[in-house]
């Protein structure tokens, strides 16, 4: 299949496919998709390729409009899309970040092995489920005043640590130390604040979850050890959530602002959801300041949940926090726009990297990495679906050169939610998880079918491609033994 089903793809190598600029009039750069032939067949069935081409219309875009192998049809940007726009004359697009601003994952290590945890897993999952508010319409344990919320949005994860949720060391192992600079609460609407005040420290619903995992395989011992992943059978804890209603509202508010900005600045776009404004314009700057508030909210959110997870482990296993060894391995955002410096086509450029369902994957020696990871590179956290497995990978120089230091973020959906509901029953998935020895508590059994293994790509295939393409090799593989889900 050298030219793809519709003749629009050019094969570069087994894992790289280009969409030429000639594919669609108005593309400023070509598209580049990381996939193998098998995956491509599925990608071509939906509108994801069209969306990669549409992103290439954004003024100031440099290099390629990129798609990671977990790409699927999104709205505006594809999920798994990465685009860098020059700060000098480029645009910022809220649709390139998405509604769940700084949706992301964080991974905690433990000193525990599966043998110590398995006998108490039912109790542990039940305690976590009670201790961490989750599910649709659930109220948080923390209620903030408007002033307190402003502080949270300015400080991010540090706000949580200062308020007693977690430890200063956690910040060292969080992307951006859990606080994106430039946050300005005055740029966040009252409505967004109203949504944010009762929700810090809530897991939410949909695909958000907390998972107790077991290390199943280690591919690179040296790097795994640097990350605190020591042995097979070690217990880890994964938290996946974002900025909740506050982030959704910020995105919605600024899509309206950008809708007007597109007309004001005479920007032509093939999809309204790509609405954008020049980064240097008042609209662009206001969005960046509001987005930083929402990103900081998400980091504070994951930080509070981390604290309660430690509490539950400590309580159920009757162990002191210090002997549990539940330090943070890392926390990464996978829906975000960041101002970064990259070397592109022979030039050092300051760009705004939009990562919509994509993870930062910085290489060894990068100054933004925690000191302890300077030799290894940045941990990349790639959750799979509930019933299968997840991966820890690591950033590389090649990712820095080719993908603005980015890689995939998860398995990527294969099947729509409604198709999943037609063919799969929540109760059957419950039986399947039980048969696999996975203990779980969910707020809504009905939503279980939407997150079943069968509706996702096999994350092993996704990670195989990012490794083979040289952008983020695998470090370790984990499998779930306990899940709580909204």
């Amino acid at each position: 299949m050298p030219a793809g089903k519709k003749g629009k793809l050019i094969k570069i190598d087994d894992y790289r496919w280009a969409i030429p600029k000639t594919y669609k009039q108005g593309m400023r750069v070509p598209g580049l998709i990381f996939a193998d032939e098998k995956m491509l067949a599925h990608i071509e069935e939906e509108q994801a390729l069209e969306q990669v081409a549409n992103v290439a219309f954004l003024p100031g875009i440099v290099g390629y409009s990129l798609a990671m192998p977990d790409i699927h049809w999104g709205y505006g940007f594809p999920i798994g899309g990465v685009a860098a726009t020059q700060v000098r004359d480029g645009v910022i697009s809220p649709g390139g970040v998405g509604f769940d601003i700084n949706c992301g994952v964080r991974l905690l290590r433990t000193n525990l092995t599966v043998d110590e945890v398995k006998p108490r897993i039912e109790e542990l999952i039940s305690d976590l489920f009670t201790n961490i508010p989750s599910g649709l319409g659930s109220e948080g344990k923390i209620k903030l005043t408007s002033k307190q919320l402003d502080k949270l949005m300015l400080k991010g994860a540090a706000w949580a640590v200062e308020s007693g949720y977690g430890e200063p060391e956690d910040l060292e192992y969080t992307e951006e130390r859990g606080c994106l600079q430039g946050a300005d609460p005055a740029k966040v609407s009252v409505k967004a604040k109203n949504r944010g005040m009762p929700q810090p420290g809530t897991l939410g619903s949909g695909n958000h979850f907390l998972e107790i995992q077991v290390v199943e395989e280690i591919y690179n011992l040296e790097i795994a050890h640097a990350f605190g992943v020591e042995v097979k059978e070690q217990i880890l804890l994964l938290i996946h959530t974002g900025s909740r209603g506050l982030g959704h509202q910020v995105c919605d508010d600024y899509l309206k602002t950008m809708g007007a900005a597109v007309k004001k600045y005479g920007i032509e776009l093939p999809d309204r959801q790509l609405a954008c404004a020049p980064i240097k314009s008042p609209e662009g700057q206001a969005y960046l300041a509001a987005m930083a508030c929402a990103a900081n909210y998400a980091w504070a959110n994951r930080q509070c949940i981390t604290h309660w997870a430690r509490e539950s482990f400590s309580r159920v296993l009757s162990k002191k926090r210090s002997s549990l060894g539940m330090g943070l391995i890392y926390d990464v955002a996978h829906n975000i726009a960041k101002i970064e410096k990259h070397y592109i086509e022979g030039k050092n450029l300051t760009v705004c990297v939009h990562r919509k369902g994509a993870t930062r994957a910085f290489p060894p020696k990068h100054p933004d990495l925690p000191r302890a990871y300077r030799k290894a590179g940045q941990p990349v956290l790639i959750p799979g679906d509930m019933g299968r497995y997840s991966y820890i990978a690591v950033g590389t120089d090649r990712a820095m050169e080719e993908t603005f230091g980015s890689t995939c973020h998860g398995a990527g959906r294969l099947q729509s939610r409604s198709a999943a509901k037609r063919s799969i029953r929540g109760a059957d998935i419950a039986d399947e998880l039980t048969a696999k020895g996975i203990t779980f508590q969910v707020a809504s059994i009905a939503s279980l079918a939407e997150e079943a293994s069968a509706v996702y790509k096999d994350v092993a295939e996704v990670v195989h491609i990012t490794e083979a393409a040289g952008i983020s090799p695998r470090v370790a593989k984990t499998r779930p033994i306990g899940v709580i889900k909204g």
């Binding site: 939906e46 994801a48 699927h72 049809w73 999104g74 709205y75 505006g76 999920i79 998405g98 509604f99 769940d100 599910g135 649709l136 319409g137 409505k191 109203n194 949504r195 939410g204 619903s205 949909g206 209603g245 959704h248 509202q249 995105c251 919605d252 899509l255 309206k256 809708g259 007007a260 999809d271 309204r272 959801q273 609405a275 959906r413 294969l414 099947q415 729509s416 939610r417 409604s418 198709a419 707020a443 809504s444 009905a446 939503s447 939407e450 909204g486």
Partner: protein, 137 residues
């Protein structure tokens, strides 16, 4: 007459809503959206909220209307299932939304809808109105 259909979209879900007039189609789109959020049979009407939204055009008005209801769901914690659209112009909508405060002991909540998007947004006039919107789930 079918009020709405759910259409497939890999990551998300779409709603196609129908109506003899635009007001009915907008109300049915809202009903379709809340049918994804919760089981609507048996929800009372004890809470009534007035909704006023403005937008630059009719399509943006549809997005604004649905997102305003999601905002109220989040903040007021009300599951809406009846919508009385009082006024609907090109860029202005006034309505009353009826529903009941969330009571987890009686209500079956389903999935979170994050927002209505502008992607593949359509308002078509054919034997009445047919409107389409993709939701971020």
């Amino acid at each position: 007459m079918t009020r709405f259909d759910i259409i497939d979209h890999t990551a998300d879900a779409g709603i196609v809503a129908y109506g003899n007039d635009l007001r009915e189609a907008f109300a049915n789109a809202a009903y379709g959206m809340f049918s994804l959020v919760a089981e609507l049979n048996g929800i009372g009407e004890g809470s009534c909220h007035e909704v006023n939204v403005e937008a630059t055009d009719q399509e943006a008005l549809l997005v604004a209307w649905l997102n305003e209801l999601l905002y109220l769901f989040d903040v007021e914690r009300v599951i809406f299932h009846r919508f009385d659209i009082i006024e609907l112009e090109n860029n202005r909508l006034q309505a009353k939304a009826y529903g009941e405060k969330i009571d987890k002991s009686r209500h079956l909540l389903k999935t979170e809808v994050k927002a209505a998007t502008y992607h593949s947004l359509k308002i078509e006039k054919e034997n009445g109105f047919r409107i389409q919107v993709i939701l971020d789930m």
